[in-house]
Subunit: 258 residues, 2 copies
């Protein structure tokens, strides 16, 4: 989204950078990845790990515009698990970056590119002292939830998932337990859920219930419906905050210290 009604919360699609000390991890390659690449390069970062939750267009469209892949001085590793058994991470990237959708294939990339395939449920160790747990979420075609633990702090990234009304999934509760921050799919309002069963998304109220039950102090409402204006999002944020004071609507370029 673009335009003054969409300025406050921003219009980029999912891409979150998680920093563990000097280590930089990137979760999803939404349109925000273009700017993230430029800013990380100007900081001198040259080693990148990019984890895919899944590869619906909103989560991968930034990939060809991520400048570090074209620089011989960068090393980029791509991780994915949602296509386990059907397509490898390398096959997926080759199929995405090609004519007629993009002028060139990944062969043109001068960076050292590497891919890792995992199974949802695996625990990953991409960098020293960083542990990442993974789990399957409920989304058409699959989606992977990530939990990053480092230095006694934890963030749970639950990007695209659908809940059973009235049920707090015990596997998910265990997965996110005691994290410092829950980033959660808040695409819909409670009143909209019935009309969108099967679309694979959830609500801010359900995210709040999960955060409270799992002992998590803060909830970043994420994956906003793209048609919500700033006014609509502010109203939704207020309503969810009245239910759970730790909730807030995530914004483009927002930085959160844990």
């Amino acid at each position: 989204m673009s335009g003054e009604q969409f300025l406050r919360y921003g219009g980029n699609t999912p891409c979150i950078e998680v920093r563990c000390g000097a280590e930089v991890l990137i979760f999803d390659a939404g349109s925000g990845l273009r700017e993230a690449g430029l800013s990380l390069m100007s900081e001198g970062v040259s080693e990148f790990d990019v984890f895919f939750t899944h590869t619906h267009y909103d989560h991968i469209i930034g990939l060809p515009y991520f400048k570090p892949i074209y620089r011989c001085s960068s090393a980029v590793r791509f991780w994915s698990g949602h296509l386990h058994g059907t397509m490898s991470t390398a096959e997926m990237i080759n199929d995405f970056m090609r004519p007629p959708w993009f002028p060139v294939g990944p062969g043109i990339c001068q960076a050292s590119l590497d891919t890792v395939d995992f199974r949802p449920g695996d625990t990953l160790s991409p960098r020293k002292d960083v542990s990442i747990r993974t789990m399957s979420l409920v989304h058409p075609g699959g989606c992977v939830g990530y939990r990053v633990d480092w230095g006694g702090r934890a963030v749970a990234l639950i990007y695209d998932t659908e809940h059973e009304p009235g049920i707090l999934d015990p596997t998910l509760l265990d997965f996110i337990a005691d994290a410092d921050l829950l980033v959660y799919d808040c695409t819909y309002l409670e009143s909209e859920m019935a009309a969108y069963r099967g679309y694979g998304h959830s609500t801010g109220i359900h995210g709040s219930r999960l955060a409270m039950a799992a002992g998590i102090p803060r909830l970043a409402m994420f994956h906003h419906d793209p048609s919500r204006t700033d006014a609509a999002l502010a109203a939704i944020e207020q309503e969810v905050q009245a239910f759970f004071a730790g909730a807030f609507a995530a914004r483009d370029h927002q930085v959160i210290d844990l």
Copy 2:
């Protein structure tokens, strides 16, 4: 692009609606198509013709978010010519809208969908009294230029193309001759062209030369480099205007009467 530095000119990717009286024609399915679909539906439009210049991601990413394709009350026709001989328009759409990039295929669309394949150079007659000429442009993987003639007025849409420095292509000059408006690829500055030879884009100064030589009073500078801020675009617009007073930088939601 999204954010306050990108507000004035907007951050949507290519999608232009051309109206010939009551007839609505759409050129490219960039991110602007999502909003265009909503606004056209609310106006009661139910018959859509969407023409592709080519299908690099920035020109097609809005397609799955174009609501009319999901409504049984709409009729949508897609036209393309840039893949002539390699892939039909129907094959292209089937390959674009599918897992793992989109949850569902075009089979889910309830609209009556139709596709037309043409050869660049063909003249198309999509609606009564509307004549559209086509020509091949210079862009990796091909791109089609369109010229829409209706009621004695004409607009030339030259989205993605590269020029030979110092040369005004006579075929292109003939194609755009005496149009009322030229929409032209102004991605780069003159000073950047040397570094981006072969990328398939052009400049505002070259577009101005073409407009002046072809007797066209107005030039919409189009296909801005996504990293330009409002300040950078305003500076570029001013520089090109000093060279050709009919030039202006195209903006999201801008309406131009011919």
